[in-house]
Amino acid sequence: MTAAVEAHEVTRTYQLDGLAVPALRGVSLTVPAGDYAAIVGPSGSGKSTLMHLLGGLDRPTTGTLLLAGRDVAGLGPADLAALRNRTIGFVFQAFHLLPRTSAVDNVALPLVYAGLRAGERRRRASDVLDRVGLGHRLKHRPNQLSGGEQQRVAIARALVTSPSLLLADEPTGNLDSATGAEVLALLEELNRESGVAVVLVTHDHEVAARARRQIRMRDGRIVAGGDPS
């Protein structure tokens, strides 16, 4: 079975005022289908950069990156967008829901770009909202929902295209611990039942401890929990 994502000796260097700033200094990582991993490390260790690469939001400076078996090096922005749409779901710390837009329309957003008809989009979005326990909140707008509910809507949106990889950047960072635990339990359940690979980035060691494996980063390198070599 194809790995959800494979990175070989990936580097990423940013140009800041003509100065080359290395964010990743050679990272190799394979996330097999159905994996549940947590990336941990101090600020500036390259966690976020790695996550952006794994999610196809960015491309490596050098090295090879395969998303669902496809090399991103040969893909233009439009093809990369289509690949993200089909294979990756994002969950953000700040939820990033569209204001003035109902829960069901927020969840259906990726399906707009997948080219589905409105009726089909609604149907799938309500199914997924049902599954995250928000079947009774379809028409609510983000400002009418609690933080935990908003993050559930965001998770539903990440799942609606049935991706092979779900990337969560500090998914519990804006939630109190009880609500955070509920959200984590939901992610674990989804990982167990639907087999979607989950990679989450976190500062929180308790959160990281619940993952099947922990990937530790420091100074742009993986220092522990990387691929067995």
Partner: protein, 394 residues
């Protein structure tokens, strides 16, 4: 489907910032309304002038000494009554032409007085020019032959000097000489700021005696046949040049007059439209500005849309539709306002205004084009945003 979503999002964004949308649209509204109104006024003026020149009569040929062109001073005419008779033989009869001698004079009735345009003419004037009488009759051949002191008044002159009285048969004073009123012209009204009802016609011979001259200023000929009008003009000019060696004469047709006037009014309309176009341009810059603000404000939304699979083109199209929607809504409002204003101008002022479908369509098309032209830079900027940076923006 993506297109439908783009429309929905654009409408939603415009609705979410109603005041801003309204103010931004205002620039386009004013620009489009200005184009519609100013073009309507320009076109209306042109139509009015054309209908007036046509309304003079058909197949007209005007003969004057000197060269007819703008910027040339009028020449003192060497023509006399004997030239009129000679030309009448060339054109085939006295009833095919009329002659005129004009002057500005004051006319008086009792204490009422009025400065009028006094025209000494032949009795054939109503057959050459289209001119209807409201009361009485026109000058006769014997009036002209005997230089009788009779006058036909313009409608406005009759109103001001005689009020409600029927002036026919009454006496009036023209430059100190008594004249008897024999008729009153039908009302023509004001046009382009000129009162066409302040004319007084008297026999050419009486006018010559009154002004102490034997001169004839101009001839007007009604050609029997429109296709031979140029040829006839050449014959008349040849006859006059022979009688007055070394002096130039010109014969102009209605079409030539229309051509010159049309050119002037065309330039005028063009200048007005250009001024209005500038305001539309300023409106477009406003749209561009607001779209840049909108893109900046919604950077996170753009980042999110890209993360879930929007291609750069999807984002560009979304913002472009928003800009076009903004300007076309403004365009439609401006059209309505412009048409309303043009109708109001036409109804309440002497300035004519004619709404032409092409100016309305043009204004609408231009407003849509303004949306595309001024929306494309912000929209492309939105489409090219790096999703990583866009998502990080707070």
């Amino acid at each position: 489907m993506r297109f439908a979503e783009a429309w929905r999002v654009a409408l939603d964004a415009l609705r979410a910032n109603r005041l801003r949308t309204g103010l931004t649209m205002l620039g386009v509204v004013i620009g489009v309304a200005a184009v519609v109104v100013l073009v309507a006024i320009g076109t209306g003026a042109k139509q009015e002038v054309e209908s007036q020149v046509q309304g003079l009569g058909s197949n007209l040929l005007l003969v004057v000494p000197g060269k007819v062109s703008f910027g040339n001073a009028p020449t003192i005419s060497p023509m006399t009554m004997s030239d009129v008779n000679a030309v009448s033989r060339v054109v085939g009869g006295r009833d095919r032409l009329t002659a005129s001698l004009s002057s500005g004079e004051t006319v008086r009735v009792g204490t009422a007085s009025q400065y009028v345009s006094l025209l000494g003419v032949l009795e054939t004037t109503p057959t050459v020019f289209t001119r209807d009488l409201a009361q009485g009759g026109y000058l006769t051949r014997s009036d002209v032959d005997t230089a009788r002191r009779v006058a036909v008044l313009g409608w406005g002159v009759a109103q001001r000097l005689f009020g409600d009285r029927d002036p026919v048969g009454l006496q009036m004073d023209v430059a100190g000489v008594r004249f008897r009123v024999v008729g009153v012209f039908a009302k023509l009204g004001q046009s382009l700021g000129v009162d066409r009802d302040d004319e007084v016609h008297i026999p050419l011979t009486a006018a010559q005696r009154l002004l102490g001259t034997s001169r004839v200023d101009a001839l007007a000929i009604k050609a029997p046949d429109g296709s031979r009008i140029g040829e006839l003009g050449d014959q008349v000019v040849a006859e006059l040049t022979q009688r007055h060696p070394g002096i130039e004469f010109s014969a102009v047709t209605q079409d030539q007059i229309l051509g010159v006037l049309g050119q002037i009014l065309g330039v005028l309309t063009g200048v007005l439209a250009a001024i209005a176009g500038i305001s539309l341009l300023v409106g477009g810059v406003g749209v561009s500005n607001i779209m840049l603000v909108s893109v900046r404000e919604r950077t996170r939304e753009i980042g999110l849309r890209k993360a879930v699979g929007a291609r750069p083109r999807d984002i560009t199209v979304q913002f472009l539709i928003e800009a076009v929607l903004l300007t076309t809504l403004g365009g439609v409002t401006g059209m309505g306002l412009g048409i309303g204003a043009a109708l109001l101008v036409a109804a309440l002022s002497p300035v004519p205004a004619a709404i032409t479908w092409w100016s309305v369509t043009l204004a609408f098309g231009v407003s849509a084009a303004v949306g595309i032209v001024f929306g494309v830079v912000p929209a492309q900027r939105a489409g090219r945003l790096d999703p990583v940076i866009a998502l990080r923006t707070e």
